[in-house]
Amino acid sequence: MSDVILSTRNLSRSFGALKATRNISIDLRAGEIHAVIGPNGAGKSTLIEQISGGLRSDSGTVHLVGRDVSALSTQARARAGLGRTFQISALAMEDTVLENALLGALGQSGRPWRFWRAAGEDRDLRARATAALERVGLAGVADQVTASLSHGQRRQLEVAVALTLSPRAFVMDEPMAGLGAEGSRVMTDFLDGLRGEAPILLVEHDMDAVFALADRISVLVYGQVIATGTVAEIRVSREVKEAYLGEGA
């Protein structure tokens, strides 16, 4: 158990009569990519919000590196080491690519209360931001306004901002969303190399990417985890086939 970085225990959340998530217990171990898959409405987005702090849970706990973060705010969980990316890019579109990365570096430094020297002139922040942009291949467009980026580049920037945080665990909400075949392949290769740095809880619809990347997969249906296992186990699971991949798949 010592190598579990992020874990949820019996996490539940209802919206009125709808039980969006029910008793979800998932472990994210060091060095792994743990994919969460499920049909639309299975509760994946709710789960991500419960883990990252955007939604309060009705019951259950979230532990990050052995610490109970269930009662913490989104920003406190980020400071505790949670690096989250959004399904729909949440970037400051009017700002430059570098400024978006600098914002992450600033959050990581935990010192936003500086009012005189320009953020772009702070060597530590800049080095951290630039390093992250280089890793995802956006260094060349660092000074462009974010709104001018292609969809694929925005997805990369989304990941770059998470990188600047040097998180203990990544929680990624559909990083492949809207990417073409080539973009998906580049992102898949990148995430593949990232798992050694910090494990990734990956919510993804792109099954090719999931089967290529995941060490383990949890299948979510109607708010419940119906199966957790390796790619091979999930592929042959009857339950999963019936509930999710569809009979005959």
């Binding site: 980020a78 400071r79 914002l103 600033l106 990581q108 936003p112 009012f115 953020a119 945080l165």
Partner: protein
Amino acid sequence: MIGERYINGLVLAGFLAVPIWALAMDEPFTITLATRASVLAMAAVGLNIALGIGGLVSLGHAVFFGLGGYAMGILAHHAQTHAALDLGFLAIEGSRSMPVIWITAVTVSALAALLIGLLSLRTTGVYFIMITLAFGQMFFFFSISWSAYGGEDGLSIYVRNGFPGLDTLVPIQFFGLCFTALCAALLLHWRLRASPFGMALNAARQVPRRVETVGLNPMRLKLLAFVVSGAVTGLAGALFADLNRFVSPTMFSWQLSGELIVLIIIGGVGRLMGPVIGAALFVALEHFLGGLTDFWHVWLGAILLLIVLFARGGLIGILTGKDGPRV
């Protein structure tokens, strides 16, 4: 299209050139107009920190303008009547010294902004506008009914307050003081905008959830912006009161809050010099058109309409060919 920094330089140069020309031509009233424009510009520069960078559409900034004005009025009133302000446990002597008045104005308006911000920032959008408006109205009606300081009639201060080494009654000297204060406010906005704080605040306006996700608290960023913003507008209020040697409840009126927003929109929201251009145009229209017709606001309204419809970046946006931030 012209680079924004050249436009900024030109605007400031123009702002200086007009009163210097007026001095040479012996037109003291023009110097007073330039002083009025500087002070209104400064009040709007204050608001622009909250509105332009932080996206906080405050329709209650007259609160801080008025508090600055009344800080001046009350202190100077007690000095001119030689009666200390008796709070029961503490007697405060009046003051005719601008530095003392300024410190008071900044402190009082910053504190008010902290309290108002703590309550209003729980809301966003139209509710934020309404709650700041409500605070403005509370101060407005309080000042009307506060007969100790003139109530509805306001409070006249017979001699302009002093500043060490200057004769503030000489128009060009008082202009110099107000213009310097405006430049200080602009310097503050400029440094703040580029600083880590300003970058985070600017992002909090656009995508608050991103700011949270990197571990920063958008609420605190906005609250501090609101306090700094209120303090700058408060100082402008103290100068405005000294310019007119008169304070009245109109300084708290919601029309004034609205005018400050109009100045910013005309010049360019979030643009460093937006409020300065806006204030210069406003005072010029008020003077020239106001001399022709009592209904000069119609023309101001027409300009505002054109800018909102066709030039979201304001006059600075037209000149630079770049839109400003979206609020």
